[in-house]
Symmetry: C2
Subunit: 240 residues, 2 copies
């Protein structure tokens, strides 16, 4: 893990960009004492393109004493895109413009993305846990598809907050049954790209006995800010 930039933010949080092999990422830490860690999973680009992700990470660090980390998924953000990635994007754009169903295209795109992202998260976690300012335990917060798969293979993740949204592939429902850690599952009641019932069925499918659904009105990007505090308190309950 090589740090490529370092910035002390006005809330006292230290923000550092890093690379780990091909993986670019960002780490936010509240201080020098070992802190529990939140992995923030997003399929899109990194922090510069996602001010809401950065705001959450800084809030977790500044207000709740968590370390937080995000990485670019393969083919996203600053990372090179393969011909397959480009084709999937073009197909998706064309189908959306034509008003055609996008489930199969998303499925074809999402499943391989998750399979590539999960080992990278595990490698990143190995490196992060060697830093003296990271003390474990570890939680996950973010995209459901990556987080679900990660939770089934990575025993160091103790609790997770998932943001629902979009098409639910059959492979995701299957993986959900194997998840046994405490979960908070966030659903936007009027999500433009999501059917409500398959998402409620996904909540139902998670194998854990301790899971809470939080549903709020509004579209995909409209999760209210108070849910960030709810997520932090949920993770604090299970990680501290």
């Amino acid at each position: 893990m090589r740090f490529t930039s370092e910035q002390r933010l006005d809330d006292g949080v230290l923000e550092r960009e890093f690379t780990l092999g091909e993986i670019p990422g960002v780490l936010w830490t509240p201080g020098s004492a070992p802190a529990p860690l939140i992995l923030i999973g997003h399929n899109g680009g990194l922090h510069k393109r996602h001010p809401r992700l950065v705001a959450r990470a800084r809030h977790y660090a500044a207000e709740y004493g968590f370390a937080a980390a995000a990485i670019d998924a393969p083919g996203h953000g600053a990372r090179p895109r393969s011909a397959v990635d480009e084709q999937a994007r073009a197909d998706l754009r064309r189908a959306m413009q034509a008003g055609e169903p996008v489930d199969e295209i998303v499925d074809a795109f999402l499943v391989p993305l998750v399979e590539r992202a999960v080992p990278e998260w595990r490698t990143t976690l190995d490196a992060l846990l060697e830093l003296p300012e990271i003390g474990g335990p570890v939680g996950y917060e973010g995209m459901t598809a990556i987080g679900t798969r990660l939770a089934t293979v990575e025993p160091r993740i103790s609790a997770a907050v998932f943001f629902a949204g979009g098409f639910v592939p059959g492979t995701l429902r299957e993986a959900a049954r194997q998840v046994t850690i405490p979960l908070q599952f966030l659903l936007q009641w009027d999500d433009e790209g999501m059917e409500r019932q398959p998402t409620l069925d996904l909540f139902d499918a998670f194998g854990t006995r301790e899971k809470t659904l939080h549903a709020n009105l509004g579209g995909h990007a409209g999760t209210p800010w108070f849910e960030v505090d709810d997520a932090a308190r949920f993770l604090a309950r299970h990680l501290k």
Copy 2:
């Protein structure tokens, strides 16, 4: 309003029983400074029979500085039961033992109960708001049917936490459309006496733009304790 007993509890909360005409109630206050008020609605008997209600009221007062009040609904708790009340109870017991559908019986029981309970809550609120240790604003926490109807007619209630459960009468769905205050709606995912879909439809029906659904695994009485803190923080956000 006549106080009939007074007890300082070990968490510093003052618990007083009162009567207001025919209405028996309990008031919990955190101190002498004017506190915002939570009305705790329950269709069943009062505090002696509902340790969870008492625990919530004391927690709101001791940890969050709210005053909290509960009253016995007509025909419940310490109050005399009419022949109609007794008949409805007997019908319900018989139907449940026979494994017959209870929706119509509950409907016949619940609708008049709500119509009798709501004016009593308003009378109680009038009296409570005259006490120097109650400073308003006012929130509601508890049974959905009473709280929904109360919220449609009582402008002094600024926010509400509803516990879902049981049959959803058509009159309740209609009333829900008229509710415009911020809501937190608690649903037990495996509630023995509740069908999930009509309850999700009820959440959908509430006319307010600021509503959050919290669903947890487990049966009707299994709401996790952390939801009490979530309710208090939600009410604090809107009442303080």
